[in-house]
């Protein structure tokens, strides 16, 4: 249901997520001696930005009832193109970032067109293009990473804003916040946002309602690719290297964040604030575990995988069960009064 349609229930869902988020942060602070350092908490934001940017578009994609598994591969391809544009083609760094974002958008456009024009399930399209884009990334640079970027690329991924008290906010956080607000307004307050929900809830009815279903679907996949290109640029700036395996497994983080944030994998339901809370939960979990000495990185992978299963299970199976129980007691009553 669209965010505006049943505010009370959504607020409560997001309230649950907020409590969960605070619980995760609290636990991580208790478990990990490094995580709880204030500057490290802020530093965690840096790691949330890249999946966060892509999660915004992924939320839209999933609400239309689709999925985009190729975002990680697009990150890799965009990274390689950014490196090549700067190093081989001699473009300035700014233009190279433009190339990366543009290439991402093109990849997304290809996904969207395949989904719409050939009626191929998004799952298959993006699974295949995941291989295509990753293959292109490896093929274009023959597996060789590019590094030695100039100083001018640094602000995107390594910059800071001092926020007082000696604490510094990672610069890219502002990109995420700005985009998140824009996506929130877009989804909840524009006709195309409403159209996205309508497509996910009943695509046929949306078509009969004369909504621009095909255009919107192509647009959300294009946006997904475009933001993956942007995330790729931030990533390259942060690690100062452009390599073809950048963003490997990235799609898992992004989808997990969305699903944990209550975006229904079957479409039609979900909000941007929810997805961002999901991102916070998953991100803090990951970062906190990584900063805990006794936990190794394969453990983190296992835990994130489990989190995804549990999140989907909770939202797809448990929540509807609870909602049904509530509905039986409450929601049907006005209808009975109204029956002839």
């Amino acid at each position: 249901m669209s965010q505006s349609s049943a505010p009370s229930r959504h607020l409560s869902a997001e309230r649950v997520l907020l409590v969960l988020f605070l619980a995760v942060v609290g636990t991580m602070c208790a478990v990990s001696p490094y995580f709880r350092i204030a500057q490290n908490l802020l530093e965690t934001m840096r790691y949330l930005v890249e999946p966060g940017i892509v999660a915004l578009a992924m939320t839209l994609v999933i609400i239309t009832g689709g999925i985009d598994l190729s975002v990680g591969a697009i990150v890799g391809l965009s990274a390689v193109l950014l490196g090549m544009a700067w190093k081989s083609w001699g473009l300035p760094v700014g233009a190279a970032v433009g190339v990366a974002i543009g290439a991402g958008a093109l990849c997304g456009l290809i996904n969207g067109v395949m989904v719409v024009a050939f009626r191929i399930p998004p799952l298959i399209v993006t699974l295949a293009t995941m291989a295509v884009f990753r293959g292109l990334a490896t093929g274009l640079c023959h597996g060789t990473p590019v590094s030695g970027f100039p100083e001018s690329l640094r602000p995107l991924g390594q910059g800071y804003y001092a926020i007082g008290g000696g604490l510094r906010l990672p610069a890219q956080t502002l990109i995420l916040v700005g985009l998140a607000v824009a996506a929130w307004v877009f989804l909840s307050r524009t006709r195309h946002g409403r159209c996205i929900y309508a497509i996910g809830l009943n695509e046929t009815a949306a078509r009969y309602a004369a909504l621009p279903v095909d255009r919107v679907k192509i647009a959300v996949y294009t946006l997904s690719g475009c933001l993956a290109g942007l995330a790729s640029s931030v990533l390259v700036s942060r690690v100062a290297t452009a390599k073809p395996d950048a963003g490997l497994g990235f799609e898992l983080d992004v989808i997990t964040a969305c699903v944990a944030g209550g975006v229904s994998i079957t479409g039609g339901r979900g909000t941007i604030p929810g997805a961002m809370l999901g991102l916070g939960i998953v991100g803090c979990l990951r970062r906190g575990l990584e900063l805990t000495p006794s936990v190794t990185s394969p453990d983190v992978a296992v835990i994130i995988g489990l989190a995804l299963v549990l999140a989907v299970f909770a939202h797809q199976v448990l929540a509807p069960m609870l909602a049904n129980r509530v509905a039986r007691g409450r929601r049907m009553r006005p209808v009975r009064e109204e029956a002839p």
């Binding site: 249901m1 349609s5 884009f133 293959g135 524009t190 009943n202 909504l211 394969p298 296992v302």
Partner: protein, 876 residues
């Protein structure tokens, strides 16, 4: 126990005769052995129990009381007609009898046995079978197999195809039908699909056969054949419930008739003791009969008023041809005709939802093209489709959102939606149409049918149409709301709106229309002005009196489900082999062929597992990680000196265990397969790295390495294993109920479940089996090398999916063969090997891009092929 049951039913019949009010029978049936029951049985006179005894059935849906205390008794060997208007409760009643829905109260007995569980399988076991209007079928399976899905005849546990053929032929002969049993079900004509469905019911020993509007889409010849069959069956003692809107048919075929109205039982009597007019009166009820006798108050606009919309020779592949009609402002043009006559398709085409191939559409004197619903809407043509939950409304959205859904472009303030204007508009129409809802923020699905319909109309009216095209505006709407909607439509016409009204309710068409256009087999058979339009004149035209043109070939020619894909692949493979043999001397050497077989064996074994998963319309992308788990476990076991047979068993068990985790998520937690296996992909890989610490396993013993590098009779061991696995999977898919269930589930999961295929069980087993196949795959892969790495199998799932999809297995499930998969693997192997031989190291970098592109190409080919089949498809 049998005597108890007959006692219980005896008392039931007795009570029904005395028409004891509701409540009492329940007390009796729960205590069948009580003296009162015995007394009732005696009063019954020892008659055999009726074939069907539905007793005081009530059923409520959100917003609608569908059935109230309805009883129905049918004797063996009779045809009992069930009539009533749309929304009278016929469908709900037969769905309950067939176990598709459970009643809120009431009981059902079949030949004296009470139905305790309401499921299609329970009903089937009692001998009840429902033949729905659009039969539930498995399009990609043969007509023969459609007869037996869920209960394949078996010999020694294996499916006996000869027995199947024998029983089917005997049954069709008994029914007097002739159908090509080897044809693909989806290629059969609808009439033949219905016959297959009836035959299936009879093969399951149906004693009560429910036919729901079986003649709706049949021609006269086919109808006659069906009636012959029905008479023959009732002669054999089958009780038949016959639902039809065509009263003529009922007098021809049925002995008894029951009328339902607004979910209540009105009357049951012999067809010889009732007239057609009586039936209509019972169906309509007196008060509404008056409503219906109301004809349009005026003559409608005269011929001097220029039409707002005129069609000239409009033709569509969707099912109508050469339609010329016009409609004037202020006029209601009724579109009548039987189901399948093309009237609904015409309405949808005018709303932009179905394509128009030729002819002219003239709007306000200008020839225009309709480009989709939005294009039609720009011209002022707006369609309110009849299928409310599927097409007209987005039910989970609120009433406000549904009303304004098509109007948000007009409700903008800057780039954003003007929330206040939106609410105002919604409230305005809620008031105007008197939509009874607690608030505009109510989810639409909780409204009654009538108020849902008003919400749908509200949106369409808010779009300010010039021509409003209405499909079934009062279907499933209660009497009161129907009258309100009729009044509303008359008012709209009086205000100058042009309305095209499509309804299967002829009374409605006659009551509202100024002119009635009657369609027959895709053509306009005639246009009757109001004064000449009566039921008789309309029906004469609808049945095709005086019209001989048969525009549309009803029966599609039965096409062979050929092996086009396999043949094409084989030819392509042969060409590729020829090309490579010419370019490289080494390609066809025995050594190279053996190497190729060895190197692609693991791929084939994995692809066979994936084929089975994809057949059920699932997917498993954790294959690569599972391969790593199995390879590592086999290596660890081997290096610890475990004997080879135990290594093999341990590896297979590890694969099956990984598969079982996936299976549990998919089958029992009902998680989407892609999500579940995306998660386990990470989890399994994480576990592998954690367990090995990233180090390789070396020092593998010789007997283990033999698995990968040895020969049996000159053939590499992995190739032998793969060949055995191929034969095994082919055998399972063809000869076991499990294998056939995969196809049935992939084709039509709900129909498969209705036929007794366990969805959970089958899904669970297929993922476990796929895991075990990955284990086997690991045993043909890991021993080919001297060490086992933790990144074993990265990207394995992608190659496997490529092979399967290229081999012609439909990614949506239900269609695919082992031969296709084998060819797909051979093709990939030949390409890979060829590139190596031609000395292209460059290709290594591009390999994954190439595979992905191949998958896209394969699914695009599938789409283009399927589109040819679905000519005339619209926006859906």
């Amino acid at each position: 126990m049998a005597w108890r049951r007959s006692l219980a039913s005896g008392c039931r019949s007795a009570i029904l005769c005395r028409a004891v009010p509701d409540g009492e029978p329940h007390a009796l049936t729960t205590a069948p052995g009580l003296p009162t029951a015995g007394g009732s049985a005696a009063a019954d006179g020892g008659h055999a129990p009726p074939a069907l005894d539905a007793h005081h059935i009530s059923k409520r849906f959100p917003g609608v009381q569908a059935l109230t205390d309805v009883s129905l008794v049918i004797e063996p060997g009779t045809v009992h007609a069930l009539v009533g208007e749309n929304g009278a409760g016929k469908s709900t009643l037969v769905k309950i009898i067939a176990g598709l829905q459970s009643p809120d109260s009431g009981t059902i007995e079949v030949h004296g046995t009470r139905m305790t569980r309401f499921s299609p399988i329970a009903a089937r076991d009692l001998g009840v079978a429902l033949v729905a209007q659009e039969p539930e079928h498995f399009a990609d399976l043969t007509a023969l197999e459609n007869l037996f899905v869920g209960r394949w005849p078996r010999e020694a546990g294996l499916i006996s195809w000869p027995a199947m053929e024998r029983q089917a032929r005997a049954m069709l002969e008994q029914m007097g039908a002739e159908i090509d049993l080897s044809a693909r079900m989806g290629d059969l004509a609808l009439a033949h699909r219905q016959v297959i469905q009836i035959a299936r019911a009879l093969l399951q020993n149906a004693k009560v056969l429910i036919l729901d509007e079986p003649t709706a889409a049949l021609g006269q010849e086919e109808t006659r054949a069906l009636f012959d069959m029905v008479r023959r069956l009732s002669g054999q003692g089958v009780a038949i419930v016959y639902i039809s809107h065509r009263l003529e048919e009922i007098f021809e075929i049925a002995q008894q008739v029951t009328v339902l109205r607004d979910g209540r039982h009105v009357v049951t009597c012999a067809t010889t003791q009732v007239s057609r007019d009586d039936l209509v009166r019972h169906m309509v009820g007196t008060e509404v009969a008056e409503e219906y006798s109301h004809t349009p108050a005026d003559e409608g606009p005269g011929p001097d008023v220029p039409p707002v919309l005129a069609l000239e020779g409009v033709t569509s592949p969707a099912g109508f041809a050469d339609v010329s009609l016009d409609v004037r402002p202020g006029e209601v043009l009724g579109l009548a005709g039987l189901a399948g006559s093309g009237r609904n398709e015409l309405a949808h085409a005018l709303g932009g939802a179905l394509p128009i191939a030729s002819g002219r559409v003239v709007v306000n004197g200008e020839t225009r093209r309709l480009k989709g619903p939005d294009g039609a809407r720009r011209l002022g043509l707006v369609l309110a489709p009849g299928d409310r939950p599927g097409r007209a409304l987005v039910l989970p959205m609120t009433v406000r959102e549904n009303i304004t859904l098509s109007l948000l472009r007009e409700l903008r303030r800057g780039p954003l939606t003007n929330v206040r204007a939106e609410s105002a508009l919604a409230d305005e129409y809620i008031g105007k149409l008197d939509i009874r809802t607690p608030s505009a923020e109510q989810a639409t699905y909780a409204l009654s049918g009538g108020n849902q319909q008003k919400t749908s109309l509200a949106r369409r009216l808010a779009m300010r149409p010039k021509v409003l095209i209405l499909e079934e505006p009062t279907q499933g709407v209660d009497v009161g709301a129907r009258a309100e909607i009729h009044t509303l439509l008359r008012g709209l016409a009086a205000d100058g709106l042009a309305i095209i009204l499509v309804s299967s309710d002829l009374n409605e068409v006659l009551a509202l229309s100024h002119r009635v256009a009657v369609m027959h087999r895709g053509h306009v058979a005639g246009v009757l002005p109001r004064r000449e339009a009566t039921k008789e004149t309309v029906l004469d035209l609808a049945f095709g009196k005086g019209v001989e043109a048969s525009a549309r070939a009803q029966a599609r020619p039965a096409r062979r489900s050929g092996r086009g894909r396999e043949l094409g692949l084989a030819v392509f493979l042969a060409l590729l082999v020829g090309f490579l043999a010419l370019r490289s001397d080494q390609f066809l050497t025995p050594q190279n062929i053996a190497d190729m077989a060895r190197n692609s064996a693991y791929l084939l074994v994995g692809a066979l597992g994936m084929t089975m998963v994809i057949l059920t319309s699932g997917i498993d992308i954790s294959f690569g990680s599972m391969l790593a788990v199995c390879a590592i476990i086999s290596g660890v076991l081997a290096t610890r000196g475990v004997p080879l047979p135990l290594v093999i068993m341990g590896t297979l068990a590890a694969g099956a265990l990984c598969g079982a985790v996936n299976a549990t998520g998919v089958a029992f937690m009902r998680l989407p397969p892609i999500i579940m296996t995306l998660a386990t992909l990470t989890i399994y890989r994480g576990l592998v790295i954690r367990a090995t610490g990233g180090s390789w396993i070396t020092g593998l013993p010789a007997d283990y390495l033999w698995l990968g590098q040895g020969y049996v009779a000159g053939i590499p061991v992995p190739a032998v294993v793969a060949a055995i696995a191929t034969a095994g999977v082919a055998f399972v898919l063809r000869w076991t109920p499990f294998g056939r269930s995969l196809y049935a589930l992939g084709n039509n999961p709900s129909a498969a479940e209705h036929q007794g295929v366990s969805r959970r069980g089958t899904e669970w087993r297929v993922y476990v089996l796929a895991g075990a196949m990955v284990g086997l795959s690991a045993l043909t892969f890991a021993p080919c090398f001297t060490s086992i790495q933790t990144n074993t199998g990265l990207g394995f799932e992608m190659i496997v999916i490529t092979a399967v999809v290229v081999g012609g297995t439909n990614i949506m499930g239900g269609r695919g063969t082992v031969l296709g998969t084998v060819l797909g693997v051979m093709l990939l192997a030949a390409i890979g090997n060829g590139l190596d031989l031609l000395g292209s190291t460059e290709m290594d970098y591009w390999e994954s891009a190439f595979q992905g592109a191949l998958v896209l190409l394969a699914v695009m080919t599938d789409y283009i092929q399927s589109r040819r089949r679905r000519q005339g498809a619209g926006i859906e």
